[in-house]
C-alpha cells in the first residue's frame, strides 16, 4: 500500500497537467470509459491504517464542499450519488472533469445538478487531496469517519508540503 513518494508526485504532476489540458482545451474528446494510465497508481499513502496529510486534508475538504449533497464520508444522500461507488467507475480524468465543469441530469423524475467548481479556488486547490481521499474510500482502504493521520515525522507528504 505504501507507495514510492516520487510516484505519488508523478501522479499529481499528471493530474495538474490534466487540469491545465481541461482548462485550455475544453470540449476536446476524451477517451470515454477507458481507464487512464494513472488510475492504476494510488494517490494516497497509508501506513498502519494511518493516512498521509494530503488524504487527511482531502477528508476535511470533502466534508466542507461535498458533504451537503454527497453525504458524510462519500456515502451518498437521498438525492446525490455515493462517490465511494462512483469512483469505482470514474477515473481521475473523468472525476476532474465533473468537478471542474459540473454535470446536469434533469428530467421529470430527477433534478440532479453538480455545480461547476472550476472557479472555486478552495476546491481547485484541494482537488487532488479530495480525489485521494475518495479514492482511498472507494478502494476500501479508508473507512467511515475521520481517518487517523500519520504522525508528522512519519509523513513524507506533510514534510514535503512544509518545505514547499
Amino acid at each position: 500500500m505504501l507507495k514510492d513518494l516520487r510516484q505519488r508526485w508523478a501522479v499529481l504532476g499528471v493530474a495538474a497537467m490534466t487540469l491545465v489540458a481541461l482548462a485550455s482545451a475544453h470540449g476536446q474528446d476524451q477517451k470515454d470509459g477507458q481507464a487512464a494510465p494513472e488510475a492504476a497508481e494510488k494517490p494516497y499513502l497509508i501506513k498502519d491504517g494511518k493516512v498521509d496529510f494530503g488524504t487527511y486534508n482531502g477528508y476535511r475538504r470533502y466534508e466542507a464542499y461535498c458533504l451537503r449533497c454527497h453525504g458524510p464520508d462519500g456515502a451518498g444522500s437521498s438525492y446525490a450519488p455515493a462517490l465511494v461507488e462512483s469512483l469505482k467507475r470514474l477515473d481521475h480524468e473523468q472525476f476532474t472533469d465533473v468537478v471542474v465543469n459540473g454535470r446536469k441530469n434533469v428530467s421529470t423524475s430527477q433534478q440532479s445538478v453538480m455545480p461547476a467548481f472550476g472557479y472555486a479556488e478552495d476546491v481547485m486547490l484541494n482537488l487532488e487531496d479530495i480525489y485521494a481521499y475518495l479514492k482511498a474510500r472507494s478502494d476500501g482502504e479508508v473507512g467511515r469517519g475521520r481517518p487517523a493521520r500519520l504522525p508528522k515525522e512519519q509523513d513524507p507528504v506533510y514534510k514535503e508540503r512544509q518545505e514547499s
Partner: protein
C-alpha cells in the same frame, strides 16, 4: 386643476390601499379562527399548530384510516404541509416548486396546477436538498416562494399569475426555501444561503403589485438593519449606532450570513412580526472575530415599517452552526406568578427560550435535551450562554478537531415546527439527539461558491441508542414533561388538537398519534416515504381529516440516508447506525386520514 385631480387620485389610491390593508388583515385574523380551515403553514399567526377540532380524539384515534392519497410527482425532500381554505387544498412541492389546488369535494381532483420554469443551476446552491416549506394565502391569492427566490402571486381560484417579484440572486448563492407570511397588505419572505456568504434579510412586498415595501437586513449599518440606535433594544438596552457592523471585523458583515430561512409569527395587537436569523458565515469562527450581530438572533419588527423593536442574540459568535431560525410560538402564560404575553422558541443550540414578546425580556432558558453540553447555562441578565472551553471550536482553534459536542450542527431541533396546546398548556417538540466533532479551517470567499470552512461528523448522543426524541415541554418552568425516544431524528412538524391527541411523523415514514397528557402511542401508520413534512388537520363535510406530506430528504436525508458513523470520542452506542435507506425510499405523497 391637473394638480388637484392628481392629488384626488393619490388620495383615492391611499384610501384604497388603506381599505385593502384593513381587508387583508381582518381577513386572515378572522380566517385563522375558523377551525375547519388550515390557512397558514403553522396554523395561525401565533404558530401554535393547534386545532380546536375534536372529532378525532384520544379514544377513537386508534380507528383512524387512510381516506385518500395524492402523489406530488416529485421525489426530493418534502417539508412543510398543505393549506386548506374552504373546499380547496393547496399542496406545494420541492424544486421545481409545483403548486396544486385540489378539490376536496371530489377526492382531491386537480383544479389547477402551477409549475414555474426555473434554472436548474439553482439546485446545487441550495444548501441541503431542494426543500420548500409551503405557500401562503392572502386576499384571494396563493403566494409561492420559489427556489430561485422569485415570489409569485397566483389567483387562488385559477392559478393565474398576478405578479412576480425577485428577492435575490442564486448566482450569489441566494435561494428561497421558506414559506411566506401575509400580514395586512404585505407578504413577507426570508432568504436562504448561509453556507454561501449571503447577507440575510426579511423582505416585505405589497400584495397589490409585488413592489418591495421594506427590507430589514440581519447585518449592516442601521439603514440596512432598520434599527434605531436608541429605540431598538437588546434585553432592555438600546443597541447603539450601527450595531449590525460594530461586532464584525471590517466588511465581513457583507458576507456575514444571518439568513432567514425559518418561520415567522405575528401578533396583530402589537403589530410585531417575529422571526430568527441563521448562522454567521463562515462556519470557521476564528475567521470572523466578534459577536457577529445580528446573526443567531430573535427579531421583533414592526410589520408596517420593518423597524426593529427588540432583538435577542441567542448564540453570539456562533462556533457550531446553531441557526436561530426555528419557529416563534406566541402564547399567554403565567410565569413566576405574573401573566405574560410570551414567545417560546426551541433553538438549534438546545435551549428552550421563553421571552416576554412585548419587551424582549428573557424569562426562561433551559436545555430541552439533557445531552446539550456546549454551554452550561444562559445568563439571564446578559443573555449570553456560558460556553464550555472543551466544546468551543474557536477556543480549540483552527485545524483542531473538537470532539463530543452536543448537539450536532443540525441542532437539538431544526426547522420542524413544534405545537402548543392551550388546553394542556404544553409544547410538543420534535427533536434530534445527535452529537458531533467539528473542525474549523481557513476558507476564502467566492460569490456563489460554498463558504463553509468546517468539517464535521455526526453520531448518536452518548449512551443513547436513538437519534431523536418527541417531547412535551413546560415553557414556564423550562422542564421536559415527557419524552418518547425515536430511532431517528424527528424531522416532522407536530400538530396538537382539542381531541387531546398530538400527531407527528417519523423519518421511517410513520404518522403517529400520541396522548397529549403522557405521550402514550395511540396510533401509527407507515406512509410510503419518510416524513419531514408538517401534520395538519381540517374539517370538510362534517368530518375531521389529518393530512401529511411524505417524501424523505432535506438535511435529514444527508446525514441519515447512509447512516451515521461511529464517533471518534467513543461516546455513541452501537446499534444506532442503521441506515435510514433500509427503512424508506424517496417519494412525494400526501396522505389524508379520517375516522371510518
Amino acid at each position: 386643476m391637473q394638480k388637484s385631480v392628481l392629488l384626488a387620485g393619490v388620495a383615492a389610491i391611499g384610501m384604497m390601499a388603506a381599505s385593502l390593508s384593513a381587508q387583508a388583515n381582518d381577513e386572515l385574523v378572522q380566517m385563522q379562527q375558523n377551525k375547519s380551515d388550515w390557512v397558514m403553514p403553522l396554523g395561525n399567526y401565533s404558530s401554535t399548530r393547534y386545532s380546536e377540532l375534536d372529532q378525532i380524539n384520544k379514544d377513537n384515534v386508534k380507528d383512524l384510516r387512510v381516506a385518500w392519497t395524492f402523489s406530488t410527482g416529485v421525489l426530493r425532500g418534502h417539508e412543510g404541509g398543505p393549506l386548506v381554505i374552504g373546499d380547496t387544498m393547496y399542496v406545494h412541492t420541492p424544486f421545481p416548486n409545483i403548486v396544486y389546488a385540489l378539490d376536496l369535494n371530489d377526492n382531491g381532483r386537480i383544479i389547477w396546477k402551477y409549475e414555474p420554469k426555473q434554472d436548474p443551476d439553482t439546485i446545487p446552491v441550495m444548501c441541503c436538498d431542494t426543500v420548500n416549506r409551503g405557500v401562503a394565502y392572502g386576499n384571494g391569492m396563493i403566494f409561492l416562494h420559489q427556489a430561485d427566490t422569485t415570489l409569485v402571486a397566483l389567483d387562488a381560484k385559477t392559478g393565474e399569475v398576478k405578479w412576480t417579484a425577485v428577492n435575490g440572486d442564486p448566482k450569489k448563492g441566494e435561494t428561497g426555501t421558506s414559506a411566506p407570511m401575509v400580514i395586512k397588505d404585505k407578504v413577507l419572505i426570508g432568504i436562504s444561503g448561509g453556507e454561501f456568504g449571503v447577507q440575510g434579510h426579511l423582505s416585505a412586498y405589497n400584495i397589490s403589485d409585488g413592489k418591495l415595501a421594506w427590507r430589514g437586513y440581519s447585518t449592516g449599518p442601521d439603514d440596512q438593519t432598520l434599527m434605531d440606535p436608541e429605540k431598538t433594544t437588546h434585553l432592555g438596552q438600546p443597541v447603539g449606532k450601527d450595531s449590525g457592523t460594530a461586532t464584525w471585523e471590517g466588511d465581513q458583515w457583507k458576507i456575514g450570513g444571518g439568513t432567514t430561512w425559518g418561520w415567522m409569527s405575528y401578533d396583530p395587537e402589537l403589530n410585531l412580526v417575529y422571526y430568527g436569523t441563521g448562522n454567521p458565515s463562515t462556519w470557521n469562527p476564528v475567521q470572523r472575530p466578534g459577536d457577529n450581530r445580528w446573526s443567531m438572533t430573535i427579531f421583533a419588527r414592526d410589520a408596517d415599517t420593518g423597524m426593529a423593536k427588540w432583538v435577542y442574540q441567542m448564540t453570539p459568535h456562533d462556533e457550531w452552526d446553531f441557526d436561530g431560525v426555528n419557529e416563534m410560538i406566541l402564547a399567554d402564560k403565567e410565569i413566576g406568578g405574573q401573566q405574560r404575553k410570551v414567545l417560546v422558541h426551541f433553538d438549534r443550540n438546545g435551549f428552550g427560550y421563553t421571552l416576554d414578546r412585548v419587551t424582549g425580556e428573557l424569562l426562561v432558558a433551559e436545555k430541552f435535551d439533557p445531552a446539550v453540553n456546549w454551554a452550561t447555562e444562559v445568563d439571564k441578565t446578559t443573555g449570553r450562554p456560558k460556553v464550555v472551553d472543551q466544546f468551543s471550536t474557536h477556543h480549540q482553534g483552527e485545524d483542531v478537531n473538537t470532539t463530543g459536542i452536543c448537539p450536532a450542527a443540525l441542532g437539538t431541533k431544526d426547522q420542524q415546527p413544534a405545537a402548543y396546546s392551550p388546553k394542556s398548556g404544553l409544547f410538543y417538540v420534535p427533536t434530534n439527539h445527535v452529537c458531533m466533532d467539528y473542525e474549523p479551517f481557513a476558507v476564502s470567499y467566492t460569490a456563489g461558491q460554498p463558504y463553509v470552512g468546517a468539517t464535521l461528523s455526526m453520531y448518536p448522543a452518548p449512551g443513547g441508542d436513538h437519534l431523536g426524541n418527541f417531547i412535551a415541554w413546560d415553557a414556564a418552568e423550562g422542564k421536559i414533561v415527557w419524552s418518547n425516544p425515536e430511532p431517528f431524528s424527528v424531522w416532522s412538524g407536530a400538530l396538537a388538537t382539542a381531541g387531546d391527541v398530538v400527531f407527528y411523523g417519523t423519518l421511517e415514514g410513520y404518522l403517529k398519534a400520541v396522548d397529549a397528557a403522557d405521550g402514550k402511542e395511540l396510533y401509527s401508520f407507515k406512509t410510503p416515504s419518510g416524513i419531514i413534512g408538517n401534520v395538519n388537520t381540517y374539517e370538510h363535510g362534517g368530518k375531521q381529516y389529518v393530512a401529511v406530506l411524505s417524501g424523505v430528504g432535506g438535511w435529514a436525508g444527508i446525514g441519515l440516508a447512509a447512516g451515521l458513523t461511529e464517533d471518534t470520542a467513543g461516546l455513541g452506542a452501537v446499534g444506532a447506525y442503521k441506515a435510514l435507506s433500509s427503512y424508506t425510499n424517496l417519494g412525494g405523497q400526501l396522505t389524508v386520514f379520517t375516522l371510518p
